[in-house]
Chain length 182, copies 2
DNA sequence: CACTCATTGTTGAAAGATCAACTATCATCG
DNA sequence: CGATGATAGTTGATCTTTCAACAATGAGTG
């Protein structure tokens, strides 16, 4: 029935796993709390707005936005409906392919991201990067990439490409320059 | 108004962060799916049963169990109620301190953990440890510990201690030896 | 002993996520 | 052109999580 003992985790692996589980459980909670308190947004809400803010024309198709935020389309659809009700984004049918819905950040949504980004980045720094050496940041990147390769074998997710960088002015992550452009 | 530019993330940090976000989003989903499919358990359900299975007498107070599983007490309470309905664990008042509730794994719960552990470990291996070198496992452990220190400054969580090891026979994580004991 | 406060846990309502339909558009092929 | 199937997105039911009360016990203090 069983093979020859399914290979258990070694003590070192087990310790790393226990800690990774704890981080995976607690980090999202900590991010949610800061954003909820300061902007009444969940971490996922923020991610949606941030990805739109980086996109050309501050606009993305729902399916692209879902991929960019690592989420299912149904989940995004519900979230987008709520964000639309709050006036932070707008949705309209694409003229070219009328199946696709284009989501665009509104002015209000843009201002919300602008206002919220510094506090969020500060939280990310406080929880993660202030604790890590430059070497560890590289190591984390490599490790996360390796795990992502298993999680997303087909390479659908944008987080696997290095291309993410291009959408962002170096050193200025979530705030493209044209702040005043309508 | 703004300070002197809240320090943004460097390109390297941003890339690592994007990937970590993706892992934190997708890894729990992947774990849930395997466990849901094979045992109708969420990852958190499994964690509750697994922690109980490692505890002396297969019993823990609810608050200890909440800490061991990195969750809030209300969350655990609801989950425990469902697991109790399914006959996987039992709850009773402690005779010593009648505020505390002691949760104990039932025989059925024990068998469920036994039957489920190999598949779960295989999934963890497939998604994480098969992709990492021994060095990277160490690095991951150190990085996760650093982040946990920020997430849990008071050290309430057991994942921060190395002590987790003691509860587990080396090389045999979720299955203490007395497998046949009725 | 009575009062107060902290600890432990449960509960119910509201918000959020998941899953399985379902609609609508497009693409392919006979 | 009509049929088939794939792609894009929404919706509603169901389940889970969260949050704010609440109850009950214990500990400390005058």
């Amino acid at each position: 029935m069983t093979a020859e003992d399914p290979r258990w985790l070694s003590p070192g692996e087990l310790r790393a796993w226990t800690r990774l589980e704890a981080v995976a459980e607690l980090l999202p909670v900590a991010l949610d709390q800061q954003l909820q308190r300061d902007a009444s947004l969940s971490h996922y809400d923020y991610l949606v707005l941030a990805k739109l803010s980086e996109a050309p024309g501050r606009t993305l198709a729902m399916s692209q936005l879902a991929a960019a935020t690592n989420a299912s389309l149904p989940r995004l659809s519900h979230v987008a409906a709520r964000l639309e009700d709050r006036g932070l984004l707008g949705r309209r049918r694409s003229p070219e392919d009328r199946r696709t819905t284009l989501a665009t950040l509104t002015e209000s949504g843009w201002r919300t991201v602008q206002a919220t980004a510094p506090g969020h980045v500060a939280q990310v720094r406080r929880l993660v990067f202030d604790r890590l050496s430059a070497e560890q940041v590289d190591q984390l990147d490599q490790i996360a990439l390796a795990v992502l390769t298993a999680l997303d074998p087909d390479g659908r997710l944008e987080a696997r490409c290095t291309a993410t960088q291009e959408a962002v002015a170096p050193g200025r992550p979530h705030t493209p320059e044209g702040a005043g452009s309508q």
